[in-house]
């Protein structure tokens, strides 16, 4: 039951595809065999012609099989009918089946300020556009450029730097990238291609080496570097003896030499991981000996002993693994290698993951975030889209049932209309009645614009980027200091557009609302909440959690700082 949708889809798709194969090749076969018949008739006629030219009077060739053209037609049409039936069945069972029908447009709850058509904004505005249109146009133009930049950065971070030049020629000409960085990403591209396409780690390893030389032992890289070394060791060990170019140097010996040279640095941290890997040397050696002594019985015996040993080793390693939570990531990797030891080259995912991990370290080294921001956001979209879809579905039902005036703050159109300055100035003033034609679009959301539903928290671990504090009293989210007070003052004086000033006013307000710690119980709340609790500082109040009594003067402002 659990995978019915998918199973059903699989059955339908497969029989659809099989039908296509069957019926269409039948048509082709039928046509071909009819052509065959025609050709034999042609042969007969040729013969007849020859005989006639010699003066004979052979029996005229029967043209009866021409009738088979009707048969050919009938068969073809039957085949077509058969296939058509399958096409219709698939359409009905899958494409028109409400269980499968999720309209993605129905999950676009908060449209971006971007056009869903190819637009070249450089062309200048349409004449007669209103002021709002122009502002929106500017915002969209800027957003389109930003999206393009995000895509460029994404491509660089997935190792596709070759395309960047095309992209920048193609689209917006005023996007410029730091040349140094571009070179570095080109190198990354080569390293990643090496890992993923050729399973060649040498470029990555030499990058590590270079880093060591320039910056001294980099403890930041230890974890990933260790992974690369053990993978390289395993690859060496697995290399086929004939493919070795080092004058027939035995692969086990080569791997041994490699380990001798590169592992000692890691002994302190990774002895439990290294030891099972070293014992792999034994297997390899035995394997080779076996092939030169084709004694079947001894060989089988040896192999069974070895696999026995291997199992024991793995299980003891797995036991150790649980005791080393701090090195879990690396241990997992070793476990993965042990599991796929002899078929490591086929495990493309391992190389893919390692390359992603390398990219993340490489970016860190460039002082950039460790993953593509665009991917991180889209990933979050993949994970959270069901909620948005569901929310929209419910909205649609609500708006059908209720009149629009009743539940205004639930209406999507209204939400989209929030964000104009008037709304900011007086948050209590609910936005105007929803209207699809509403010219009021949202450029900058005020801090009061919260999503009306909560997302599942179980995936938060993927996206834990900031310390988040929700005031236990007002349920308001802490707004840390993110804009400098001076800047705001300057902007105010410069009389920047109203929207931005209001945004900054709000910021300024939020800056006076830091968290405070209560002196006697060390519980935390937002300052504003405590101000209210203490009746503007005039009364003794009780802590919202433990009811300990405090004065307003007994709280201290505090700042969360993540390390």
């Amino acid at each position: 039951m659990s995978t019915t949708l998918l199973d059903n889809l699989a059955t339908e798709s497969t029989s659809f595809s099989e039908a296509g194969e069957k019926y269409l090749s039948k048509i082709l076969d039928d046509t071909h065999s009819f052509v065959g018949e025609l050709k034999s008739m042609e042969q007969d006629l040729v013969q007849q012609l020859e005989q006639e030219s010699q003066g004979a009077h052979p029996d005229p060739v029967s043209l009866e099989s021409l009738k088979n053209s009707d048969l050919w037609y009938k068969q073809s049409i039957d085949s077509l009918k058969g296939y058509n039936g399958q096409i219709n069945k698939f359409t009905k069972h899958i494409l028109h089946n409400s269980k499968y029908n999720i309209n993605l447009d129905g999950a676009y709850t908060y449209p971006l300020n971007l056009d869903n058509i190819p637009v070249e904004y450089l062309k200048g505005p349409t004449p007669g556009a209103s002021h709002d249109d122009l502002t929106l146009r500017d915002v969209k133009m800027e957003n389109q450029k930003e999206l393009m930049k995000a895509i460029v950065l994404h491509l660089l971070k997935i190792g596709q730097s070759d395309l960047i030049k095309d992209m920048l020629n193609d689209t917006t000409k005023d996007i410029r990238i730091d040349e140094d960085l571009l070179d570095k990403f080109q190198l990354l591209n080569q390293i990643v291609d090496g890992i993923v396409l050729n399973h060649d780690l040498s470029k990555a390893l030499s990058w590590f080496k270079q880093k060591h030389e320039s910056a001294g032992p980099h403890s930041n890289f230890q974890e990933i570097e260790f992974k690369f070394h053990i993978l390289e060791y395993t690859l060496l060990l697995n290399r086929k003896p004939n493919s070795s170019t080092d004058g027939g140097l035995d692969s086990a010996l080569e791997a041994y030499m490699y380990s001798k040279q590169n592992f000692p640095r890691f002994f302190d941290a990774y002895l439990p991981e290294i030891s099972p890997l070293m014992s792999l040397l034994l297997f390899k050696a035995q394997d080779d000996v076996d092939s030169s002594h084709p004694d079947d019985y001894a060989r089988k015996h040896m192999m069974s002993l070895l696999s026995d040993f291997m199992i024991k080793m793995k299980s003891s390693f797995n036991k150790d693994l649980e005791q080393r939570p701090s090195k879990r990531n690396e241990s997992r990797f070793v476990e993965e290698i042990l599991k796929h030891f002899s078929s490591i080259e086929q495990n493309q995912n391992l190389f893919q993951s390692l390359s992603n991990e390398f990219i993340s370290y490489y970016c860190k080294d460039l002082n950039l975030s460790n993953d593509s921001s665009l991917f991180q956001s889209v990933l979050s979209g993949f994970i959270n889209l069901p909620s948005f879809y569901k929310y929209n579905q419910i909205q649609r039902r609500f708006s059908k049932v209720r009149s629009s005036s009743m539940k205004e703050d639930f209406d999507i159109d209204t939400i989209n209309a929030i964000g104009t300055s008037e709304v900011l100035d007086d948050p209590k003033d609910k936005p105007r009645p929803p209207s699809i034609q509403s010219k009021h679009f949202n450029i900058i959301s005020p801090y009061s614009f919260d999503m009306p539903f909560q997302l599942s928290d179980s995936n938060r671990f993927l996206f834990d980027y900031h310390p988040i504090f929700i005031c236990p009293v007002t349920k308001e989210q802490l707004i840390p200091l993110t804009v400098d007070e001076v800047e705001i003052e300057l902007e105010k004086k410069a009389k920047r557009p109203k929207l931005e000033v209001s945004k900054n006013d709000e910021l300024l307000k939020s800056m006076h609302n830091p968290v405070v710690v209560l002196k006697h119980c060390q519980h935390v709340a937002l300052k504003e909440s405590i101000w209210q609790l203490s009746k503007r500082g005039s009364e003794i109040f009780r802590c919202h959690y433990c009811y300990k009594k405090h004065r307003f003067s007994e709280v201290t402002e505090a700042y969360f700082i993540d390390l």
């Binding site: 499968y100 930003e146 689209t171 069901p386 948005f388 900031h466 993110t482």
Partner: protein, 509 residues
């Protein structure tokens, strides 16, 4: 509220089956036509032979050979069409396989099963949930309504699943780049697709790049080049399907063509053209019952056409050589209606037709009207947007964003406690995607996600008000060996040194 489940991905992914099926159907029609045509022709030829049994053998032979040739030509065409069919079917299977990959990452969870997709059954439970702030009651209610549903959640801890998502994200980007392409050269989207399929050939089967390229080309031909030939060809190719869907695009195309005649000054042709192609649209009897809206729309436009001719006459007369026109002419020229006519002949009609085309195209193939990248991006950014986000100009590679080096003021300045300063000063990297300058700007109009308190472990407040995860605070190196008790720590931001006893554990939740 909801978690990503296998079923949701299957449902969201089923759209990808629509385009190949539609392409198969169209190709099927081609095959059918080939066969029908061949049948008619063969029947003709055969009848000719049979009519005259006494034909000389040589002529009979020639006639048979002609039939053979035509059947062989048919065979060739059939093979080409069947190859196409195979290609489209292989897309279906590749997409199926792509979804089946997900079954490797499913987990069965006994608690936390607040997963409901079937809206019919669970409407009330979910509706209640939305208004209900208490997460516990949400779960119990949802679970109650779960009873029949055994959907499977996905294990997001699995890096291979994350890699799967990486591929899907790249496909969304390719989709966007192809559809939004404005250059006349080969689109970057296709290049990216080719480049990515070197290491992963399945990419080619997972996206209908050929169709999207057509979409893009036709769209641009209308808006950019004011050329109707591509859209007319597309309409002819899909005439039956479009008629079936009550499409009004034929009228819009003809209307646009009429205006083009007018614009070019070929008024006579325009009038003749409208008599043949536009007038029938004014007759309600030419519409299906459910096409009433189209009828009203078209009738309105047709009515304007007459006025348009008057407008033309006035416009021609008021050339610069006659600066002062008659009073009535200038009256008309300043009337609102006159401007409407001006508008009729502006570029608006191309924009309108292009949008109409887009509408028809997406409907015909069942693809989403919005670029899927936008849909996922908007949901993703909204769910990641926190009130701690700021525009982190350090996390970019674009030149104009690099800010001049900032002067270091007093370390104790309050502003350094904001995340926009402290990451940099602590030499830390902020990995938040919404803080990256590009996406920060894109997400300006989005709402903030509703979150719950989530503070690092062991938060300790230093006497200066800074709260740190105590485990990560170090003793300053100068003091490391000097003190015996050495219960001293350094604020990494202000470089102040405090006795550990002065620091207190705080309890944010």
């Amino acid at each position: 509220m909801s978690e990503p489940t296998l079923n949701f991905h299957v449902q969201a992914g089923s759209t990808q089956f629509k385009v190949p099926t539609e392409l198969i159907r169209k190709n099927f029609k081609t095959i059918q036509k080939l066969i029908e045509k061949q049948k008619r022709q063969a029947a003709n030829d055969i009848a000719n032979i049979k009519k005259n049994p006494s034909l000389p053998t040589a002529i009979k032979l020639e006639m048979i050979r002609k039939i053979i040739r035509s059947f062989e030509a048919l065979e060739k065409k059939l093979k080409a069409s069947i190859n196409k069919d195979q290609e489209y079917r292989s897309r279906l299977l590749a997409r199926l396989e792509n979804l089946q990959e997900l079954t490797k990452f499913t987990v069965t969870r006994n608690h936390d099963q607040d997963i409901t997709i079937d809206m019919e059954d669970n409407e009330h439970a979910i509706a209640d949930d939305l208004e209900d702030e208490d997460p516990k009651s949400v779960k119990t209610k949802a679970r109650k309504s779960m009873s029949g549903d055994e959907d499977k959640a996905l294990d997001l801890h699995n890096p291979t699943l994350i890699n799967w998502y990486r591929d899907q994200a790249n496909l969304l980007i390719i989709d966007y780049l192809i559809k939004s392409n404005v250059s006349s050269e080969q689109s970057v989207g296709l290049k990216l697709l080719q480049s990515l399929s070197v290491s992963n050939p399945k990419y080619m089967k997972l996206i209908d790049y050929d169709l999207y390229e057509t979409l893009n080309k036709v769209f641009l031909s209308i808006v950019e080049h004011h050329d109707l030939s591509l859209v007319i060809a597309w309409f002819e190719e899909n005439r039956t399907a479009l008629k079936k869907a009550n499409s009004n695009i034929e009228f819009e195309i003809n209307y646009c063509k009429f205006l083009s005649f007018i614009e070019e000054g070929r008024t006579d042709e325009a009038i003749k053209f409208s008599q043949v192609h536009l007038s029938p649209s004014g007759n309600i009897n030419n519409y299906q019952e459910n096409e009433h809206d189209s009828y009203l729309n078209n009738l309105k436009k047709l009515k304007e056409i007459g006025g348009l001719l008057v407008y033309l006459a006035i416009n021609e007369h008021s050339s610069p050589s006659q600066p002062v026109g008659s009073f009535s002419t200038s009256m008309v020229k300043h009337s609102a209606r006159f401007h409407d006519y001006e508008k009729l002949l502006s570029d608006d009609r191309w924009i309108f037709l292009s949008e109409c085309f887009m509408e028809n195209f997406t409907k015909l193939y069942g693809i989403s009207r919005n670029f899927p990248l936008f849909i996922y991006l908007s949901a993703g950014l909204s769910s990641l947007k926190t009130k701690s986000c700021y525009c982190n100009n350090d996390n970019t590679i674009f030149v104009n964003h690099k800010q001049p080096h900032e002067e270091v003021g007093s370390l104790k300045d309050r502003k350094y406690r904001g995340p926009n300063h402290y990451y940099k000063r602590l030499n830390r990297i902020n990995n938040c995607p919404v803080c990256s300058p590009e996406l920060f700007k894109l997400s300006r109009n989005l709402p903030y996600a509703q979150l719950i308190t989530s503070i690092f472990n062991n938060p300790y407040k230093l006497p200066n008000g800074n709260i740190y995860p105590i485990d990560k605070l170090t003793t300053p190196s100068s003091l490391k060996n000097s003190g015996s008790g050495s219960s001293i720590i350094e604020d990494p931001l202000t470089k102040e040194v405090f006795a550990l006893s002065e620091c207190v554990r705080v309890y944010p939740a």
